[in-house]
């Protein structure tokens, strides 16, 4: 006797409709925006404050924003910087982070900016996981 399979939605069922990659792209462009789109405003606000704080600390320390790839380390740093999304393009437009690194704190600032970008990528992927239902 054939039985009809009972269709149960998983506990973290994704919301239907809309562009599935929108939280990922929005989260990359604007830190925390992906979490706001998946209705997690507190997480989004905390992520935005953390990533923006780290990026601004980096800028305040005269950290360098990499604009061109001269060697493999520059290329990796630029990839990290690009992770900050719109902040990278704003900084390039405003001329922030163009100075050459001369003292230790400026080097720390550069690292802060790169890590802010990498953390933003992690946050954007997390927003995507929330959207697809992989995470609650």
């Amino acid at each position: 006797m054939a039985t009809t399979p009972i269709k149960k939605s998983p506990p973290n069922a994704p919301a239907k409709g809309g562009i599935i990659y929108l939280p990922l792209i929005a989260g990359w462009l604007v830190p925390g925006a992906g979490h706001f789109l998946v209705h997690k405003p507190v997480r989004g606000a905390l992520l935005a404050v953390s990533i923006l704080g780290m990026f601004l600390c980096g800028i305040a320390m005269n950290g360098q924003i990499h604009s061109g790839a001269h060697d493999i380390l520059d290329m990796l740093s630029m990839a990290g910087d690009l992770g900050t999304g719109i902040l990278y393009f704003i900084s390039r437009t405003m001329g922030w982070g163009t100075n050459l690194v001369q003292i230790t704190t400026e080097d720390w600032g550069s690292r802060f900016i790169v890590v802010a970008g990498l953390l933003n990528i992690i946050a954007a992927v997390d927003a995507h996981n929330l959207r697809t239902g992989r995470k609650a």
């Binding site: 992520l47 890590v115 992690i122 995470k135």
Partner: protein, 59 residues
Amino acid sequence: MLHPTYVPAVLLFALFASTVFGITQRDTPQRMVRYGIYCFVLFVGSAVLLSWLMYFIAR
């Protein structure tokens, strides 16, 4: 411009990074807080440990 010394820089870095790690790597708010604190302690602790290690190597 901001010119922090070593310890404030480590504390700032650990605070921001562990906040993001806590939120993204765990599911429930309680576990997020616990994991965030765990990461913060690991960041700061490893920085202190490595600093002492480098101090003794340099001597």
